[in-house]
Structures are given as C-alpha cells and as structure tokens.
Point group: D2
C-alpha cells in the first residue's frame, strides 16, 4: 500500500507498506478516496511535533469507502462512504461523554500522529462508530474533505469559542486556511463586521471574496489602530487568533473590546505575554482548544443545505503519486496561493 510517512525530521517518503488490518472489534478499515495536507503535517516534517511517533504515515483528513469493519462496529458496513474525523473518539470516556473528543482518553488526535494516517490508500480507524460520519448520497466529496479538520477547527475553536453573535464585530488575525474557515463559518451567525488581518494581500483578497467586511494588511504595524478606527474606538467583540505567534496574540489583546473574547486557534511554539496589568478589569475571555469535531454532523447539514460553500477553500488538486508536488505547492503557499489541496487516491 502506498502511503506518505514521516521518518525523521526533514525527510519525506512515499512508500509501500502493508495494508492495515482490523486490530480491535471497534476498528474499521477505510479505503481513502480523497485526502489533503494540513499545516500540522508541515510542522511534523520539520520535526516540530515531538509527540509524533517516528515512521507514522501522515494525514488526519479525508473521505473514503469502508473496506472492512470489526465485530462491534454497528453503524457502518463495507461499501459505505464515510468522512473521517481528524479526532478519534471512543465515545465512552469522561471527555467523550462531555463532547470534548479532543481529549478522548482512548483517542484524540492520533491519526497521522500516533498511528498511521490518511495520506495512504487505506487507513485503520479505531472507534469507527464514533469517529466516522456517513456521507449523504449526493454530497460533493471534495468539499467534505474540508470537514475532517479545517472547517470544524475554524468553527469550534474560532467561531463558537469566540462567541460570534448576530450584530457583533469580529476580527480574524490570519487569513490562511484556518482563518478563512473561521471566516466562512462566522457568517452562520450574521455578525455585522468581520475584519480579516494578514500580511499577504492575496489572502486578504480571498478573505474579501469569502465575506469579510473589511481587510487590513498588518505589514506596517498599524493594524490595531485601523481596527479601532473601524470600530469607533471600541475594539471588536471577538478576536480570532489564527496564526500562532506572540505578535498576533499581542494584536488580539490590543483590539479586543471590553466584554469581548479572544479565541486562540493558532498552534503556538512559545509562550506569549498576557497583559493582565491592563486586561484584569477589561472583562475579557480568552479561550484555547484543540478541535473536538463535534460540529461535523451540523456542518454536513449546512454544506448540504448550501449554507456554507466549503469547497471554496480548495485551490489545487493532485493524485497520490504526486504527493511530493502537493506538499511543495502547499508548503510554498505565498507563491502558489494554495489554500487547501485535494489529493485523489
């Protein structure tokens, strides 16, 4: 079986390994039809993700067809088309009972991290009943690949945590795939203002096309002042941090209105300053989270009802044997203008 795996930092291989087999009665084997690459995959290849098991096949997103199921799998049977959640949920631990699948005691983010992932012809999905989702007959498979991780992440970690509300003002710092996923799903709540902030004019233009009411290029360090101007000096009700560096988290603190919420989505490598000397009396909320993907069923309905066009995030398409090229394209997004790339298997 062909798969993309990480051996050691910096090295990439597409190699042949045995097709995975059912190990537990709750497992399913899924034949991947479409997958994609996540920013996290790049981090793994750079060696930034210390918890990643060496030799793991990469990828935690994708759709496919059930190939085999364990004896205890009740929801799916071979031949069923399924969407794979990037988060594996046992459905029975304390965290799963609270719908906090990200911290599942028997799963969580393990695909392409602790066990072989989806950038492969086949993948083993533990706890299949609660980690796969049936795909409607007439669904657009490509668009649904966006529901494995990127759309739920933008929605749950950015929009829901950020308490985006009808009539409220939102700033999204970072107009990459995650920031844009937040932008798309923020519109579920009809906020009055959505300001996209980025260094890249192309990505800001995409933001505008996707529904931003204003865009700010923060290159000149003037973004905070511009946000204040756009909000009559008040700041925004929700600031979504979708980059993951101290500078952007700092910006969020500069533009948040009293009573507002900073929803951190970015993956941070180092600590940041929190200005409690100023914010202690500002009535702000700061949230962090790994995605739970509890919103997948809702997002499926919303995609089907055409309330959100998830497919807009897809800019490039490749075959599995072109995966090196896909990584190249995705990795040089500033040049290639790549957002999400589809890899057809």
């Amino acid at each position: 079986m062909l798969t993309r795996r990480v051996e050691e930092p910096g090295r990439k291989k597409l190699d042949d390994r045995a097709k995975p087999a059912i190990q537990l009665p709750t497992d399913a084997i899924v034949r991947i039809t479409k997958t994609t690459i996540c920013g996290t995959d790049l981090h793994i290849l750079k060696g930034d993700v210390a918890t990643c098991r060496p030799g793991t096949a990469l990828g935690h997103e994708g759709v496919g067809v059930v190939d085999a199921v364990g004896a205890a799998v009740a929801t799916f049977k071979p031949g069923d088309r399924v969407l794979i959640s990037c988060i594996t949920a046992c459905g029975r631990c304390e965290y799963c009972r609270k719908a906090m699948y990200s911290h599942c005691a028997n799963g969580g983010w393990i695909l392409g991290h602790r066990i072989d992932g989806t950038q492969a012809e086949f993948v083993r999905i533990p706890h299949a009943d609660t980690s796969l989702y049936p795909i409607p007959e007439d669904a657009d498979e490509e668009a649904l690949v966006m529901l494995s991780d990127i759309l739920p992440t933008g929605f749950e970690c950015g929009v829901l945590n950020g308490k985006v509300k009808v009539g409220s003002s939102v700033a999204i710092v970072g107009s990459g795939p995650i920031g844009l996923a937040a932008l798309l799903t923020a519109q579920f709540y009809a906020p009055s203002e959505i300001i996209m902030i980025d260094l890249d004019d192309n990505r800001l233009a995409v933001g505008k096309r996707f529904g931003a009411t204003a865009t700010i290029n923060s290159t000149n360090g003037d973004a905070a002042r511009q946000v204040m101007e756009l909000t009559s000096g008040r700041g925004v009700d929700t600031a979504i941090e979708a980059v993951g560096i101290p500078l952007t988290f700092e910006l969020c603190q500069d533009i948040i209105a009293p009573g507002g919420t900073i929803a951190n989505v970015g993956v941070h490598g180092i600590k940041v300053d929190l200005h409690l000397e100023r914010l202690w009396s500002h009535n702000v909320t700061i949230t962090t989270s790994l995605v739970d993907t509890v919103s997948i069923p809702m997002l499926l309905k919303s995609v089907q009802a055409k309330r959100v066009d998830a497919g807009q995030l897809i800019t490039h398409r490749f075959k599995l044997h072109q995966i090196a090229q896909a990584y190249e394209t995705f990795g040089k997004a500033a040049d290639t203008k790549a957002l999400k790339v589809i890899i057809e298997v």
Copy 2:
C-alpha cells in the same frame, strides 16, 4: 463633614469638608452608617492607582440612609435604608443594557476613585436608582456591607466567570478577603472539592472553617504537585486567581484541567506569561473582569435566606474617628489576622 481622603501617595488624612449636595436630578445623598476598607484603598494610598483623582475621599463600600434625592430619583426617598454598590451604573448606556455595569459609560468604578467615596459621613451617589439597593427590614447591616464589593467580586469574577459547577473541583489561589468571598459563594454550586492555596496558615485555617475541602500552604513551591495529587493527576475544573502576581497566575496554569477555566480576580500591576505553547490544545478558558455587582439583589436574597453567612468575613470593628487605626489593622493583616473591618460612622 468628616471624610477620609487621599491627597498624595503615602499621605493619609481624615479631614473636614462640606457635606455633598445633589448635582443632578438622578443623584442621591446617603448618610453612611457603616463602611469598610478595601485592598484597593491601600493601593490608592500607595500611589498605585494612577487614575485616582487627587483629593478624592476614599471608600466604595457601605450602607446608609438616604438623606436627599434628586427630582428624577424614583426608587428611593429620604429615610430609606440602602446598600451602596461599589459600581455606579447609569442603567441606560450600551454596557448597562448588557448588565456590564463595570464599564458603564457614565459611571463604573468612580466612588472613592473619581468622585468622593463612602469613608465619610455623607456621600453623593450618582444614578441612584440603579446604584443603590433597598435593605430589607430585618437585615444585618454589617453583613450587607460585604455586598457592596467583596462578595459580588468573589462571586461574579471568581465563581460565575470560573463556571463553578455541581460536582466540579475548584482551587482558589489566595485566601485573603477576595479568595474567601469566592470560597463562600462557590458553595452556592455545591462543587465536590474546593482547595484553598495561600502562604499564610491562619488564612488557610479560616478557609477550612469557611468550607474548603482541602488547604495547601504554597510556601515551599510544591502547590501544583499537591493539587495534582488531590485531583488524581487531572487538575481542577476551576482555578480562581485571587492574588494578582505572575507567580500565582503561573500556578493557575499549572493546575488547570483540560476543559477548565482560570478566573482572574486579582488586580495585576505587571504582565504575566501565558503558556500557549502548552495550553493552546488544552481547551481552557481564561477570564478577567471588574465586578459588575449585578448579583447584589441575588446575594441580598441569599443572605436573608441564610444560604451564605457574609458576616463571617468581618474580624474588626472601628468608629469613623478611629479610621487611621482601622487602616493600620487592615494593612497589617498578616499580623492582625484582619479580613474585613467595619467602620461605624
């Protein structure tokens, strides 16, 4: 009229000044019967509160009797016994409409800060209809002084923001008056565990008496490990920061469980480190706030229904002419074991 005022940092005076008069139709003049000293008053005297108007009479807590009302005051009349909120709320601005009185565009924390306060024989209360509360016939006035600031602060900024829940685990870092107010009001929600953490064994003993299920003296730097042990390695669902220094905020980050909330109550003078490199995927919420005092009516009912014994916080009593001694006692709390002092006017 005798009043306590701040002239310049470090200097204290009890001086004679004119009795305040109605300035706007929404004002009331209240004759103070009982007031108290807040940690913030000490900060002002030390010169730490730059926004404090020089010469302001101190004090933002107290109960009294209405002496006079402006033409537009509809709820109160001379002779009515009233509880004074530390927060002045106009009741009509955008923030007041959202019950976020702390940021009232026409009030907020102004008593003993921007205008003369309650450590005096008389005080002018702007927006009286929405900044005073009627005192029930049979109420214990002393206990109600705790409802001007300390109890709502512990409750709103600590317990409510911290989402204390039935069956949950809570750690309160700081067993001073604010931490103890959080402890008393956390019990409204029947959490399973409430761990008090402080450097002072006397204050921890008070915590135990007030209902803590465990206490930790953090002198030896071992508090985080002990909390983890008490919570089976999980951490606490709610960590209430009631001190206001980087070290205690750091401790909160070390002991918070996935999905938990750090509610900051402490007044911070400098920035703190936020460990997003670790917390980004931990699904935590951090809140800050100045008290809104929206909970005063509820707390009044709860005191009357004997659901909380607010009077327990009172350790010392003085007359207004003894105010220097009251400050002395309150300022040296480690020696005097003072929590809240009542000043009878």
Copy 3:
C-alpha cells in the same frame, strides 16, 4: 394634533387633540415621521383587548424626531432622530435589570394601550432614555419602523426562544407579518430548513421569496404529515407558532422533534390542549413571551450591515389623513396582500 384613537369597540376616529406635554423629567415628546399598524390594533378596535384604556390614541410603532425632553433625559435632545420601542422600559425595576422589559414594573406595553400611542403627530414617551433608540445618519427610516415591534417580536419570541441553531430545522406556522419577521431573522442562524405553513398561497409565496426552504398550504389538514416527510419522520427542532389559535398550537405539538422547542408568538384568546400524555417523555420545551425589544440595538446594526432586509415587509404606504384607508387595507390582508403598511405623518 391629529391622532387615531379608539373610543369603543368597532368605532374608529381620527381626531384632533392637544399636543402631549412633558409630564415627568424622564419623558420625551417625539414628533412622529412614520408609523404603522399592528394586528394588535385591529384586536383593540374589535374590543378584544380588555386592558385597553378607552379613548387611547392607537399605535405602538414608529420613528420620529425628538421635540422636547424632560430634565432627566440624558441620551436625547430635541432634533435627534429616534426609533420608538413598542415597550416602555424604566431601566431600573427588577424586570428591566434582567432585560425583561416586557414586564417592566413602570412601563411594558403601554403605548397605544394604556397611554396615547404613535398613530399621531406627536407622542409622549415615558422613560425616554431606555425606550428610544438613536437612528444612524444614513438609515432607511421606513425599514426601521419594522424594528419597533414586528422584527424584535419575530426574533425574540420566535427565533431566540425557539433556539434556532445552525443546521437545525424550523417550521413557522403562520406566514403573516409576525411569521415572516421570524423567517427573516431565523436566517441569522443559518438553519438548514425553514418550512413556512399557512392557508394563504400568496403569503407562502412571500415566505419562499424571503428565504423559506419549503412551504406547506395547511388547508387540507395534511401539514403535519408533510412536515414529517420533509424531516425524515423526525419532526422539526423548532416550531414557531405565529397565529394564536388552538389548531395551530396543536400542529406545533404534532411536528416537534424530541428535544425540540415550540416558541409561541401568537396572541391566544382561549386555552389550548397540551398533550402531556404524549409529550411528557418527548423532551420538549414550550415558551411564551411578550417582546422585550432588547434586540433593537442588535437589529439596528444588522439592518445597517445589510444582514437583514426589514423593508421587505412593507407593502403599502399612506399619509396620516389616509389612516382609515390604511386600516382598511391592512385589515383585509387576504385581499390586499398587505403585510406592513407605512403611514407617513
């Protein structure tokens, strides 16, 4: 001053009476520029509203210009353009503090009911600071007349109480002005399905145009079966009752999914059957409410941000002297296809 008033059931008059004057320091006098007629006004004229004070000038909706203000009014001054809430809120009573203005101890629904209303050249607005809203410079006044009552009612009593959610299914029983206001504002939350149900094909066509995903003419008594078919036998998550008779409330009980909410908006004259013998284990919620109009500021922002086109509800326009004709047109809606009529003063 010309005004429309009710003398006794069935009789209508446009008569001349004295221009109202400031009575309390919190009053404002507003010169009406545009007003409208509500279904409730028809009920009053029919004699159905026993609480209506005889001789009251009708009307509780409208926009205008401040003509005079009492000494305690702080937010508005003569010349300010304002939107009038149908609910008068004192801003200080227990209910107003909880943002439940509908039950304001010193106000509530009094305009055109207990005191003279807005179908007049001038109207006195008690508690002006908390019962009027400033109109943005560039706003469409006509559209804003829809924010006095109809849009907040559809939104608060229907959409918010009904917990309309992203991806959920909604049925609105009654496609009159209130049902359509619910339809317009339900779309703030991007539900997957919104089914309009009515007896009148014209109103259903309007519903379709306003964003319904399906419409059902319930004339043949088959509506429940059709809703079940549209929802795969599950029923709807939200059923909004916007008629006010036993039959339509019955229908809501027939189509509500387990865990769903029936939000009653209709004004009922008689009791209804509640099928607890079936619903006791169905995990449903039923809500009732008079509008609080707390959503007016948010709706103002949403209209300005073009998130909702409130003006769509307006079908006819009249001058004040044509008010009898306006009532005629509005009263015979089935024939005239009237939704909301604008009366220019």
Copy 4:
C-alpha cells in the same frame, strides 16, 4: 434465576428463568446486589404502560457486580462493582451524541420494559460501556441505587430543566420520591425558597426535614393563594410538576412568576389545559423530559463529597424472596410511609 416479571396486567410472579447470556459484543451481564421498585413498575403491573413487552422481568434500577462482558466492552471486567443506569445508551447515535440518552436510537428506557430488568439475580445490560458506571471503593451501595433513576430524574427533569438558580424561588408540586429527589438536588443551587406542596402531611414533613423552606397541604384547594402569599404576589421562578395529573399541572400555571419555568416531571396519562390566553404574554417556559441520566457521574461525585444524602430516600429494606411484600409496602405508600425500598438480592 429468580426474577420478578410482568405477565399480564394485574398479575405478579417471581419466577425461575434462565440466567441471561451475552448476546452482542457490547453486552455485559451484571449480578444484581441491590435493586428497588419505581412508581413506573406499579404502572406496568396495572397495565398502564402499553409499550411494555409481556413477560418482561421488571426493574430498571440497581447496583451489582459484573459477571461477564462481551468482546467489545472496554471499560468493565468481571468483578467490577457497577451502578446501572435506567437508560441504556449506545453512545453513538445522534441523540447519544447530544447527551440525550433518553431517546437513544438503540436503547433508551428498555430495562424492565422492552428487555428483562433488574429485579432479578442477573441482568443483561446492552451497550455496557455507556450504560454502566463504576462504583467507587468506599461508596454506600444502597445510596447509589438512588442514582439509577430517581435522583437523576429529579435533578435533570426537575432542577436542571426548571433552571433552579441561586436566590430563586422554587415550588415542587408532589412530595413523593420524585418530588423529594428534586428537593434534595435543588439545594445544589442554593435557591432562597423551596415550597413543597402535597396532600399528605407525612410526606410534607419529610420535605421539611429534607430542606424545604415551606410546605403547603393542598387538600383544601388553597395552594395557589398560599404560594402567592409566600412570594409577595409574584409567584415562583420554578414550578416542578412531580405528580402527573391535570390538577397539579394547573396549579403550576397558577403559581409561576413572569419569566419562570414549569418543569414537568410527572408521567401524564391524559392531556392537560394550557392557558395560553393568559400565559402567552407571561414569558414562561414549560419543559418535559424523560431522564437522560447524564448527571450520574456528577451525582456520584456529589454523593461521595457528601453534598447530597441520597440514602435518606430509603425507608424500607427487603430480600429478593420478599419482593411481593416489597411491592405491597411500596404500593401502599400513604399507609406505610414508604419512599424508596431496597431489595437485597
């Protein structure tokens, strides 16, 4: 194996049948150590529960020891002491994902209803991982029997649905086991007033002992007036219906304050009148529900933390061979003063 089963309405048998066996890999067999009788069991024996499968062994409450588990059961092993939920939850269907286990597509209330129940020496528990709960080492088993159904029902359907809040007023109509379970768990939220209403002075005395702040014997039809008097004419914020007949639901409508919630817990056999002609503008919420038992883990912690004394509900104890006598005692509660009876197996 000895078991209590229902053959046909009115007939009762304790008979010998085969010990149940694992049927699916997700099943567990539990050896019952303690069980109890529910009011619903009486309804079944009277023939009131049409959905009950003839010949079913009764009982849906109990604690025991795991005897055997299917291949896919991961949380439990033979020898584990477990608490049995009255609701069987598959953990994977749409409803379970929303923590609405009562409507589980593959479970729900099936024990002692659709499949053999717990009034037996052994019981088969489908979906064991998500339908059983581990019992702490030092727990009081008898008290935990109250957590299978009665305590979660009072808490979830009464207290949580009824939105009991700190400082609020609560009336509980019906001081039987369910009403008393609501009373015990309402105190988690420190309401200011809890008024118990019943026809039986003994049960009211129990209510008083369990923490009611007032009791009303409603025999003379005067209960509504008395509640109004106790609440200064305002009514209660929460009315919990714990009887299940039109008269008591009527009473709830008579005593509910504007903005309040009627939480129906009673099992109703016939429809009731809903006075929308009065309540339409009263801003009330009415809820119904079958228990989900999602609160069992929290209740376990609360029992262990001594925040609630569930054992107080137990009035009588029997051995399994005395089950007829246990039914007799429980069925004649007015005479025997029985609340919950423990049956030791």
